[in-house]
């Protein structure tokens, strides 16, 4: 048969068998049901899972970032605290140092004044001793000198008394002066 001839007035536009029409629709219905009930749910479920996984991954990354930021904050705070503590310790050390210095200075001054005092006392004692010796020597020398001048021995006790009282008055006068 000529393909363009077909059947009836519409030529090839009318089906030669209406069975084609029915079979086409039935086959489409079957494919539609399979795609609708089986294939599409499989793919769509997988798409949901995939979207969840990607979203979950992003969330996990965000969470990790948050944690890192928190850790950083904690670390920074600790660092700041450590600085404060160091400053405190430094201050305390400074204060202690100053105290110790003051104490040792006070002690040294006390020691110095004690040494000066004892030296002064010793000097005084030695001066007195020297004065005593000198007085004795000056008396005897003066008596000797006067005896030579007078030509007689003045070594008796009365003379000695006179000399001694003179010298002691002399000492008193010098002491007065």
């Amino acid at each position: 048969m000529n393909p363009l001839e077909g059947q009836g007035p519409l030529g090839p536009l009318l089906p030669s068998h209406w069975s084609e029409f029915i079979v086409g629709l039935v086959l489409f219905a079957i494919i539609y049901m399979v795609v609708w009930k089986v294939v599409m749910p499989r793919f769509e479920t997988m798409y949901t899972d995939r979207a969840d996984e990607i979203r979950g991954g992003i969330e996990r990354a965000e969470q990790a970032q948050d944690e890192a930021a928190k850790a950083l904050a904690v670390y920074k705070e600790k660092l700041a605290n450590a600085d404060d503590e160091a400053a405190k310790i430094r201050d305390a050390a400074k204060a202690t140092g100053a105290q110790i210095e003051a104490e040792s200075r006070a002690k040294a001054e006390e020691e110095a004044s004690r040494i000066v005092n004892s030296a002064r006392v010793q000097v005084e004692a030695e001066k007195n001793l020297a004065m005593e010796d000198l007085r004795k020597d000056v008396g005897s020398m003066a008596t000797t000198l006067a005896g030579k001048i007078l030509g007689e021995n003045l070594d008796d006790s009365s003379v000695k008394k006179t000399v001694d009282s003179f010298i002691s008055s002399l000492g008193k006068e010098t002491a007065k002066k």
Binding site: S19, G24, Y32, M46
Partner: protein, 293 residues
């Protein structure tokens, strides 16, 4: 009758597995064989009996082209079940192919054209696209060498269900009267012009859409296959059957070679027509649902 050219034999071949336009039973009954002799004319008496006798069931329902459509549908179903079997979040190659095709229709056609609520129409469009493209590709591949939907019966079926689909969607959304009004009275058209526009819209939206849908698919494949056959049959005839004419022989050879280009074109047409069919289906659904026309 002499020696029949090979091409002509293909052209008229009545049995399964070749590219003739006439359907023939896969398991022909005696009645069919008697009424369709390979050679010779039927006598007037036999012809009268053949035209009046009720056809045998299997001669009509189990033809080569129906079998071809069933094989096509089976391939489509097997393909989808295969590529969608246990889908993984990270796809295998097998799944990737399925996803690529599924997404092309789901995102490229359904979502882009229909918008909100497109999911309902995805299986319809996926089923329609794959069923049509597989049967169209039968036209360019061995074993079948015949595009199933150049038989117009299948195509009318698809056009009618598409027509039912988009009208049903529109009526469900707007109600009968409101939908009818939306489809015939475009907004912002003044009264007098409306008198002319409304009937055009009516004809266009309710009558021309299914007809053009069916004719576009059918005629492309029908004409394409006819073209292929003319090139192959005519070329083969000129090449092998014309004696003592070198020009005809050379022309025949060139024609056969050129038929490969036509085959390539047919591959494009096979894809394009399947795609256009589902794109227009989506477009009609979208226009039936649209807030403004």
């Amino acid at each position: 009758m002499g020696i029949r050219p090979l091409g002509l034999t293909l052209f008229e071949a009545p049995t399964f597995g070749v590219s003739g336009f006439d359907s023939s039973p896969v398991f022909p009954s005696q009645q069919w064989l008697d009424c369709h002799p390979h050679t010779g004319e039927l006598t007037a008496e036999v012809k009268r009996i053949c035209e009046t006798a009720p056809p045998v069931w299997s001669d009509i329902w189990v033809t080569n082209h129906i079998l071809q459509a069933i094989i096509g549908a089976t391939l489509v179903i097997v393909f989808w079940l295969f590529v969608s079997h246990k889908p993984k979040v990270v796809p295998t190659k097998r799944q990737w192919v399925g996803e690529w095709l599924y997404n092309m229709i789901r995102n490229g056609v359904a979502r882009d054209m229909i918008g909100d609520g497109y999911q309902k129409f995805v299986p319809w469009l996926v089923a329609m696209f794959t069923f049509i493209i597989v049967n169209n590709l039968f036209g360019s591949f061995f074993i079948f060498m015949f595009p199933t939907f150049s038989k117009v019966g299948f195509v009318w079926g698809f056009a009618i269900i598409t027509w039912i689909l988009y009208n049903a969607v529109g009526i469900k959304k707007w109600g009968v009267l409101q939908y009818f009004k939306r489809m015939t009275v475009p907004e912002g058209v003044p009264g007098p012009i409306l008198l002319m526009v409304a009937p055009l819209e009516l004809i266009s939206n309710f009558f021309m859409r299914p007809i053009t849908l069916a004719l576009r698919l059918f005629a492309n494949l029908f004409a394409g296959h006819l073209l292929v056959m003319i090139f192959v049959v005519g070329g083969t005839y000129l090449l092998t059957e014309v004696k003592n004419n070198l020009f005809y022989n050379v022309a025949g050879g060139v024609t056969v070679l050129f038929s490969f280009a036509i085959f390539a074109l047919e591959l494009l047409v096979a894809y394009l027509q399947a795609y256009i069919f589902v794109v227009l289906t989506a477009q009609y659904v979208a226009s039936a649902q649209a807030e403004t026309h």
